[in-house]
């Protein structure tokens, strides 16, 4: 019973913690511009993150090596160092996007308060929570409260979409003619938003933080990855559906996070708005904390410094300083006037460019029987692992040309 409860709690945390500013920006814009046509890309992205997270969790559990430990082990300091620098830069962009996103979400209810005050308050609140809360509380507080995002699933049902059209959106669609470049830009964006790598750095480090053991926790890992992240994908689908019904016919371009909240407000009234506000606040707030911690995890694991939220802040001081610096840099960037939504687009698109460099060592390690023994990839996991390396590489190669050719989706 205890194990079932543990699995259920982990699944809920993974479910509620799945969506972040990337999904709120890309999926809502994808629905507004291309109706249901990009739903198939959610499936590609979600299956990818499920595979990646499951392998990372299993490798961390068996070898006690989270992602950047494995990267240095497999690729050494040269290539591994390039992967580290790229990942830290993208992580910083992600923290900027998420911290700025929290302030933008707060604006929904606190319009009279200047943005910079909200930003300072948001950053201070996030730093304090990260400082005082131990790892399981961080994971679960934001994960559980992020479940308010279920309001978008309710809204998607409530707006009565044509379910036949929704189903046809899951069939891959090769766009040609008008808006081709923008279509493919959003296809890459929706896939990349689901595959944003800080989630797996955080997840695999969490497996070590919580002392997972393969003989006991294999099922917890599978449950979190398959059910938690898989169900999180339902929220991603719901965001596209509700946006397709509400914004596509009116040609509304949801460039503001407040417009995303309207997607729950219009069909469900004031309660819908409140639930959307709370869900977005905790999902994006959680993502800000996770991405700042992920940057610190990457750095410390690469250089072998003491790390972990299971230690008090002074017990792993370089780790603590690293995540505090991530928050401070993000605050400075957003205070300087950078647009969090634009940063989100760059963070999501660029993250997929660096993804193969972090995915490949995990795949190699997960299938290596010398390291993993009986827990190495089976035939299906191996086939899917290689297939996704090809998919991720294609998406990575296409990402930057599409970013510039589409003027980041503006056409």
């Amino acid at each position: 019973v205890k194990k079932v409860a543990e699995i259920a709690l982990g699944v809920i945390a993974a479910f509620g913690g799945f969506a972040d500013i990337g999904e709120l920006v890309f999926n809502v814009q994808a629905g507004a511009q291309f109706r249901y046509q990009l739903l198939w890309t959610v499936v590609i992205g979600v299956v990818g993150i499920v595979l990646f997270a499951e392998m990372c969790g299993r490798v961390a559990m068996v070898t006690k090596r989270p992602v950047f430990d494995a990267i240095r082990d497999r690729f050494g300091v040269g290539v591994g160092g390039i992967a580290l620098i790229g990942s830290l830069a993208i992580n910083l962009l992600t923290v900027c996007a998420e911290v700025g996103g929290v302030a933008l979400i707060l604006q929904i209810y606190f319009q009279a308060v200047p943005f910079r005050i909200l930003l300072l308050g948001a950053a201070a609140g996030l730093v304090i929570l990260t400082w005082v809360l131990p790892f399981p509380f961080i994971e679960r507080l934001f994960g559980y409260l992020g479940m308010f995002l279920i309001v978008f699933i309710v809204a998607a049902v409530h707006v009565h979409p044509n379910w036949g059209d929704v189903a046809s959106g899951f069939v891959p669609h090769w766009q040609t003619g008008q808006n081709t470049v923008i279509y493919w830009y959003f296809a890459v964006g929706v896939i990349a938003a689901a595959l944003i790598p800080y989630e797996v750095y955080f997840y695999s480090s969490g497996a070590v933080e919580e002392g997972w053991k393969p003989e006991e926790d294999l099922i917890v890992n599978k449950g979190n990855a398959f059910l938690g992240f898989g169900l999180g994908g339902v929220i991603s689908v719901a965001l596209i559906v509700v946006s397709a019904v509400l914004f596509f016919p009116r040609q509304i371009e949801p460039d503001f996070i407040g417009t995303t909240a309207l997607a729950a407000n219009v069909p469900l009234g004031a309660d819908g708005l409140l639930f959307a506000f709370l869900g977005m606040l905790f999902a994006v707030g959680g993502a800000a904390v996770e991405s700042a911690l992920s940057g610190a995890y990457c750095l410390c694991q690469f250089f072998g410094w003491e790390w972990g939220k299971y230690r008090r802040p002074a017990g792993a001081p370089r780790f603590t300083l690293a995540w505090v610096i991530f928050f401070l840099l993000a605050l400075i960037v957003i205070l300087s006037g950078a647009n969090p939504i634009l940063i989100t687009e760059y963070a999501v698109i660029l993250s997929v460019v660096a993804l193969p460099m972090t995915y490949l060592p995990i795949l190699l390690m997960a299938r290596d029987r010398n390291y993993m023994g009986e827990y190495a990839n089976g035939k299906l996991a191996d086939f899917m692992g290689w297939l996704y390396l090809v998919i991720i590489s294609i998406v990575a190669l296409a990402a930057v040309p599409l970013l510039f050719a589409s003027t980041h989706g503006a056409g």
Binding site: R72, G80, G81, V132, G304, P313, P317
Partner: protein, 123 residues
Amino acid sequence: MAQARTEKPERFYLAARLLDRQLTDTHGVRCGKVDDVDFRGRVGEELVVVALLVGPQALLRRLPPRLQSLLSPLRRLGASRIPWNQVETLTNDELRLRGTARELGLDRYEEAAARQVSKVPLA
């Protein structure tokens, strides 16, 4: 030539076992990674591992020359030298050392960071 052929794989195997391994001190505290290895001996003779090197200076030596010169200011951060007889166990996961990080000179930056972090309440 025959001698070189038999020695080469052994050298690579040793490097793979040691380089980039996690170091933990006698209390299990992570205290860096093996950035380089110091050997005694010459080609054609028996090579003996004398010490492990940990720190930016040792790490830089493994980078391509152009990158080394670009990052040369980091050299002054130095490197610690851990005599091989200070290694207690070597596993796939880590190298456990006999002394504490402080005794082995691996705690300089960690201590400096700890001083700053400790100034904040609830640290």
